[in-house]
Every structure is written in C-alpha cells, then in structure tokens.
C-alpha cells in the first residue's frame, strides 16, 4: 500500500466505507456538495447540461444547424423556430446547440494540450530544482509574456484561419498559465516528509511525481484548468468573432456573436443568446475552478460572518482535500 492510498483512506470521511453502492454515491455527492458549495453546484450542473447537449446535439436540435430558408430570415420565435432564425434563415436554437460543440471542444483541447506539455515540465522543474528549475521557470516566463491572442493571430496569419492553428497557438500560450501553478504546488510537496519517506523506500522520481505529488496537487490543477478553460473559451470565441478560428458555416457561439448585421437591423436574439451562453459558461467555470482549488468567497462578498462551527468544518474540508501526507 502506497503512502497516497494510506493517506486517502485515513482522510476519508466515515461514510466512505459505508458499504452499499448507493451509500457510496450518496457519500460522494455529500462530499461534492460540501466542497463545491451552492454556487459551485449550480455552475457544475449548468456545465454538465451544456456538455450533455453538445454530446447529443443531433438528437435534441430541432433542425439542421446549416439548413437555410431565405424566406425565414430574421424570423421571430415561432413553433417552427423556437428562438427565431438568423439572417439567412437558419434555426437559432439548433445553431446554439450545435455551436456548443466547437465552443467547448476548442477550449478543451487547449487545456488538455497545455496540461500535457506543462505538467511534465513543471514537475521536472520542481523535482530537480537548481538549473533545471531555473530554465523551466524562465521558459514559462518567456511564453507567459506572449499574449495568447497575438500568438493565435500570428498562427492564423502563417497557417490560415481555422480552429486548429488557433488551438495550437493558444495551447502554447496557456502552458505557463497552468504550469506555473503546478510547479509552485509541486515545489511545496517536494519538501514534504512523505516525499523523503518514499524516496528512502526506493521509489523512483517518476513514480513519486506521478502517483503521489501529482495526485496530491490534483485539486489545484483541476481548479486552474477549469479557470483556464473559461479563458480559452473566451479567447477562441474572440478569434471566431474576428473570423480567425471557427469558420462559417460551422455553428459556433463566437461566430454567432459576430453577427453585427443582425444587431444593426434590430434583431438581437441571434447575437445575445450565444453571448449569454459564453458569459454563463465562463462564469460557471470560474466559480467551479475556484471551488475545486479550495478558494473561498472573499470576505466582502459574504453576507454574514461565518459561524465558528462553519469555519471549523471548512478548515477540516481543506485538510481532507489537501491529501495524503503520511
């Protein structure tokens, strides 16, 4: 049994070993509710709904998102078009549903690629320290200094407009955004006694980093990834708005927001609805990211001072999540 599993079991609440499967699910939900809080749960449910709609878009979209009828241009809400039609007569609801696919896929790829590149570098820097860490840190600083949008515009200029160059460029730009946090958290873990204990037992650097340090900093990584996801969504929507990422006629929220023609002619639904979805997703991801990584609302946001009992419970939560230190 490794240190991490020992720690996990010791830190787990009593309900964890409650036996039946339903009990375990209930316990998990209870822990999630405690960890996320009401705002986090609302954010998570909203994002879950968006993801589900994106996955089953062909089943729930009332029409082909690219089907046109010039006669229906800017038609208002009706049984045929529940949210109306855009300037070339396409069903707005269907485009919103299908648009969630590209709007979520792009940021997901950005975050995954950035994590895949950033985590190994950050862990290596934290583990070896010295010159390796200095080089890694300076590389992060260098890339961090490059504005992501500018890098994406450059990539589009070189390789042409499209989602791929935009995602690749933003992935590079997001590496330090995620990796700097990973590195800082990993450096904290590196000097922990349990790491020395594992090393004394003869475990290798790779195993300690992947199976113990990384596992212990997972909440921090996930929280930062959620926030990065929100930023990436906004960046890609901006690039699509500028005509540099997702290309017409593909449904995409950023592309839909760029429909200035609709606004100038006084039709706001085709533009405002995707805009609202972008705002809601970014907000949800930010809240969720903050909650996962253990941040609490700032004091000035609280309505009342927390009661001591609540405070104690929160401290306990943090201890349990901070992991598996022996």
């Amino acid at each position: 049994m490794t240190a991490s599993t020992l720690a996990t079991s010791s830190a787990a609440p009593p309900t964890r070993s409650a036996g039946p499967r339903s009990g375990r699910i209930r316990a998990t939900l209870t822990r999630a509710r405690t960890a996320l809080g009401p705002s986090g749960i609302v954010a998570a449910l909203f994002l879950l709904a968006v993801v589900v709609f994106a996955l089953i878009a062909p089943l729930v979209a009332p029409a082909d998102p690219n089907a046109q009828s010039l006669l229906d241009a800017y038609a208002g809400p009706s049984p045929e078009h529940l949210l109306g039609a855009d300037g070339i007569g396409r069903d707005i609801l269907s485009r919103l549903i299908y648009g969630s696919r590209t709007s979520l896929l792009g940021p997901a790829l950005v975050v995954l690629v950035a994590l895949a590149v950033g985590i190994p570098l950050a862990l290596a820097g934290a583990w070896y320290g010295g010159a390796v860490d200095a080089v890694v840190a300076r590389v992060f600083d260098l890339v961090y200094a490059l504005p992501g949008l500018l890098l994406a515009v450059l990539a589009v200029a070189l390789f042409g407009p499209g989602l791929t160059p935009a995602v690749v460029a933003l992935s590079i730009a997001y590496v330090p955004f995620l990796a700097r946090v990973v590195r800082a958290a990993a450096r904290q873990q590196r000097v922990s006694p349990y790491v020395d204990a594992l090393a004394v037992q003869g475990f290798g650097a790779a195993r300690i980093n992947v199976r113990h340090i990384l596992r212990n900093i997972t909440p921090v990584v996930l929280g930062q990834a959620a926030i990065a996801f929100g930023y990436a969504l906004l960046d890609l929507a901006s690039l699509s708005y500028l005509g540099l990422a997702v290309q017409a006629p593909t449904a995409d929220w950023g592309v839909m927001v760029s429909d200035t023609d609709a606004l100038m002619k006084g039709y706001w639904l085709p533009v405002v609805l995707p805009g609202l979805l972008i705002v809601a997703c970014v907000l949800s991801l930010t809240v969720l990211g903050s909650r996962i990584s253990g941040e609490r609302p700032q004091p000035y946001l609280r309505r009342r001072r927390p009661r001591p009992a609540q405070d104690q419970r929160r401290r306990a939560d943090r201890t349990s999540r901070s992991g598996d230190q022996p």
Partner: protein, 553 residues
C-alpha cells in the same frame, strides 16, 4: 477593380456591452425592412452647394489607400479619393458624360486615333504648367511593367502615345477603338508631373513623398492607416471647378456598425457605397439623408469567379447548374435588405440603363432572355450529367465582408443542394486581395467571390476585362474566339446601337460558358449630412474630383 473587405473590431470580450447594445435596439420579429429607391434615375446629384465649407469629413471606405499613386491600385478607397488630387485628362460628369478637363477638346479622326488638345491654363499644384510631355509620360506609365498599373489592360490596344504638338497628344490604336476614351475620364488617364515622378522613382505615391498632380485638392496629411486629409489646391487652374471646401478629411472604417454610428452621430458627414446592413440605422438618422438608388444605379456586380477550369468547376454544365440554382432574388431581398437586384449577366442594367434608346432596347432584350427563376431540379440533373455529383468545389471569400460571408454560406448550401460538395473558405483581407493579383494565391481554390465594378457604364469594357485574353481580370484563362471577335467589334464600333448588338453576342456565349457567374447588383447607397450637399448620386464619383462640388447647402 475588385473589392476586398473589412474586418470587424475585436469585441467579444465585451459581450455584456453587446447585450446592452442589443437591448437598446429592440427586437424586430420577422420580415425584411426593405430598402426602396428614393431618387429617380434622372437625378444624378444631390442639391448643388450654395456656399463653401471650412471642413468636410467623409468615409474613405473600408481601408486606407495602399498608395497615393493613381495607377497602383484600382479599388474603392483609391478611386474615391485620388481623383480629387490627380485629375484625369477628361472629366466624367455625374451622368457619366465626358467633359473637357486637362484636355479642353478631343476627337477621333478615325477609329485608330484619338487626338487630345490640352488646356494651356492647366498647372500642377506646384505652379508648373502641364505639358504634352507630362501627359505622354503619365499615360505611358500604364504600359510600363515597372509601374504595374492596375489599368494596364485598358491600354492593350494602344500602340503609341505621342506629343503631336506643343499642347496636343495623339493616342494610336492597333485596331479600331471607340471605348478607350472613357478610360481617360478615370484614373487610367490621371496626369502626374513627370519631373516629380521621375525624381522620386519608387517613392512616388508613398505617404511620405506623395504625388504632384493638377487636381482641385492636394494631400495635406496621410497617416497611412486611419486618416487622410486633403486641402484645397491654391494654384488650381479652373476657378469654375475649384473645391468649395477648404479641407476634406477621409476616415477609414471597416466595421459597418461603427460606420453607421459615425454617420448618424455626425462625426462623418457622408459616404458612398455604404454596406446594406447600415440601411436600417441610417434610414432613420435625424441629421442627414440616406439616398437609395434604383435598379442599375451602379455598375457594381457581385459574381462567383471560376478561379480555374480544372477541378470541380471544369465542366461548364457544373457552372450552369450552380448558376441555375442560385436564388438571386432571395439574396438581393434578404442579404441586401432590398438594396440590390438579381443579376443575370455580369454587365447588367447598371451598364446600359441610361444608353440611347436603340442601344438600351438591344441590351434589355438580350438581358431579358437570361432572366430565370431558380430551378434546383434541373440544376441537379446537370450536375449528374456532368458526373460531378459529390465533387468538391472550394469557394474563397473575404471573411471580413459581411455580405460576402453571407453569400458564400448561401452558395455553399445551394451547391450542396444540387449534389455538389461546396467548401467555403474565408480569407483575411490581404490574402483575399492577392487572389486578384497572384495566380499562386488562386491555385488552391476553384472559385472566389468578387464585388466588381467598372468606373463607367460600358458593357464591352466590362466583358473585355475578364473574358478576353488580355483582360486584367481573366483569372481563369478563359478564351473563346466568338467572344474575342464580338468584343473587338464592339469596341471598334462608334454607333452605340450596333455596339450593343455585338456585346449581346458575346454576352450570350458567356451566359453558357460562365467564366463568371453573376449573382446580384447592389444599388447606390449614399448618406449625406444635412450640413453638406453636392455629392453625386451615381457611381461617377469613382476616379473623379467629386469633392470639389460638395459644400454647404
């Protein structure tokens, strides 16, 4: 002679501001607003100015001029502005008729010679007189590969340009030509000072060096991107045509919403060639009037250009099928808010609606034969007959142009609907612009959209520009002896009725071979602030010194 288009300002980051904007404009629910013409064909200008102005601010179109050299680029920004600085040899009036300018008289003693008598009063803005030598030099620049004039194809038939007297220039042609004279009324006939141009070489026309011409205005300042200011030429030689306004500031705005706001708020006092999406806002502006022209009020034509005769569009039946399936009326009504009309031949009514009766009848009859409603079923059969079902056709368009983006999406759906596989590719302005100049840039695409025009209504010249071997816009290498012969005969015929017959012959062939597929023709859209007047209502502003007539009402 093309238009690439604009970029939207970045803004998604301010989605909430969009919400506010959206909420403020209310929610219409349905039918197109529709633009109706509010001036007759006989009205070619707004009310004449009665007094001068200290300053005038005008929309200079979607970008700043690439160069101040009148020959470098033939596009909307250059042709809107530079005619005020570098006047052509002849003046084109608002009704497109030619009038004396730097040349006080001209005549064609025969079909292969054009003689121009220069006005001895004419001076450049530095006070030096315009000589026959300057005129010969200026016209010959069009034939100089080093200059790379955008009007070079207009000089294809020109064999020599010589000073035939102290104040006389003779242009000789290799074959009969009665349409070339129109080119001397646009920037293709702009006169520049020889010594100044020769001295500055490649720097001639840059923002830093500028130009030396004989127009009613000179360039006071140009920052290269956002603003260009003209000031009245104090040494202008013709008091009757001198500028009424002391200074004219051109601003370059790409975003239709920003443009509409600038005009309706008064920060810009006018603009030509406005985007259709601005109609709704400008129609209700309280500080000025939006003028909407009738059918054929411009020579503009929006077309799908076959970039090559290989690949998906190689078979003429596929091009015919695509043309047959396009819902031109729907595009004109929906995407242009009614400020456009279906176009069934590239040189539509805008090229001949004001011709003399005999010619107009001939053109109208030929055009009427081409008008047709969409027939997707027949189009699908043609695609099958051509064995092109499922073949991919790539279509490039200017991603920055809203109307182009919308048309491309409609065409994509149209093509897919008849069995083709249309792939549309939005290009940034610079990349899109290179489609018109660089064969390599076109190599990856089967077709591209163009918002085309000719500065004057001459159908023979329009067709010659893309359907003859020497045409500057013959991007796909199209060649048909019947078209070449008919257009050569048209250009060499003085009688306009007979010329129309020849053009109709060429047009009939082109309607079948379709190197360009016509889609719609936009109408004239001009906004003018209540504090100014005098702007032309026709497309004649292109290449001419229109700003000289604009002043206070």
């Amino acid at each position: 002679m093309h238009r690439s288009a604009r970029r939207f300002p970045l803004a998604v980051l301010s989605t909430l501001s969009l919400l506010a904007t959206a909420c403020s404009v209310g929610a219409h629910t349905g039918s197109s607003l529709g633009a109706t013409s509010n001036f007759s064909r006989s009205q070619v200008t707004t009310a004449p100015a009665k007094a001068g102005l200290a300053s005038l601010s005008w929309w200079g179109d979607y970008r700043a001029p690439y160069s101040l050299d009148p020959l470098k680029t033939a596009d909307y920004p250059e042709e809107t502005i530079l005619g005020n600085v570098c006047e052509p040899l002849l003046r084109t009036a608002a009704d497109y008729s030619l009038h004396p300018g730097i040349a006080k008289a001209w005549h064609q003693p025969d079909a292969t010679h054009l003689v121009l008598d220069l006005d001895p009063r004419v001076k450049f803005s530095d006070g030096r007189p315009v000589t026959a030598d300057d005129v010969v030099y200026s016209l010959k620049r069009n034939q100089d590969p080093a200059v790379a004039s955008n009007y070079a194809d207009s000089y294809t038939d020109v064999s020599s340009i010589e000073a035939s007297g102290a104040s006389q220039v003779t242009v000789s042609f290799t074959r009969p030509n009665y349409v070339f004279v129109h080119d001397l009324g646009i920037l293709a006939g702009a006169v520049v000072e020889k010594s100044f141009a020769a001295k500055h070489g490649q720097d001639f026309g840059t923002a830093a060096t500028g130009v030396m011409c004989a127009g009613p205005y000179t360039v006071a300042s140009f920052d290269g991107t956002n603003s260009l200011v003209l000031k009245r030429n104090p040494a202008y030689w013709d008091p009757s045509h001198a500028g009424k306004t002391d200074a004219v500031t051109f601003k370059f705005i790409a975003d239709p919403a920003a443009l509409a706001n600038a005009l309706s708020s008064g920060s810009l006092q006018g603009g030509f060639d406005l985007p259709a999406s601005a109609i709704a806002q400008l129609r209700t502006a309280k500080n000025g009037k939006l003028y909407v022209g009738a059918e054929g009020s411009t020579t503009q034509n929006i077309d799908l250009v076959a970039a090559r005769f290989s690949g998906g569009l190689a078979d003429a039946r596929v091009r015919q099928a695509l043309s047959l399936a396009i819902d031109r009326k729907g595009i004109a009504k929906t995407l242009f808010d009614g400020a456009a009309d279906p176009l069934y031949a590239v040189a539509g009514p805008g090229f001949w609606a004001d011709e003399p009766a005999a010619a107009r009848t001939a053109y109208s009859a030929a055009y009427g034969k081409l008008s047709t409603d969409p027939d997707p079923a027949k189009a699908s059969r043609l695609v099958k007959q051509a064995g092109a079902t499922g073949k991919q056709i790539t279509l490039a368009y200017a991603a920055g142009s809203l109307s182009s983006t919308q048309i491309a999406q409609v065409l994509q759906r149209t093509g897919d609907g008849i069995g083709l596989k249309m792939k549309i590719v939005g290009l940034p302005d610079q990349q899109y612009g290179s489609l018109f100049t660089d064969p390599k840039a076109r190599a990856g695409y089967d077709s591209f959209l163009t918002i085309n025009y000719l500065e004057f209504p001459e159908a023979a010249s329009m067709y010659a520009s893309y359907a003859t071997k020497s045409g500057a816009q013959n991007f796909n290498g199209y060649s048909d002896p019947r078209v070449e012969q008919a257009l050569a005969q048209a250009q060499g015929t003085q009688d306009r009725g007979r010329r129309a017959d020849y053009v109709a012959q060429a047009q009939q062939v082109l309607a079948t071979s379709l190197p360009w597929i016509p889609i719609v023709q936009p109408r004239a859209l001009l906004f003018q602030n209540d504090k100014v007047t005098g702007a032309p209502l026709t497309f004649s502003y292109m290449s001419n010194a229109w700003a000289a007539s604009v002043g206070a009402p």
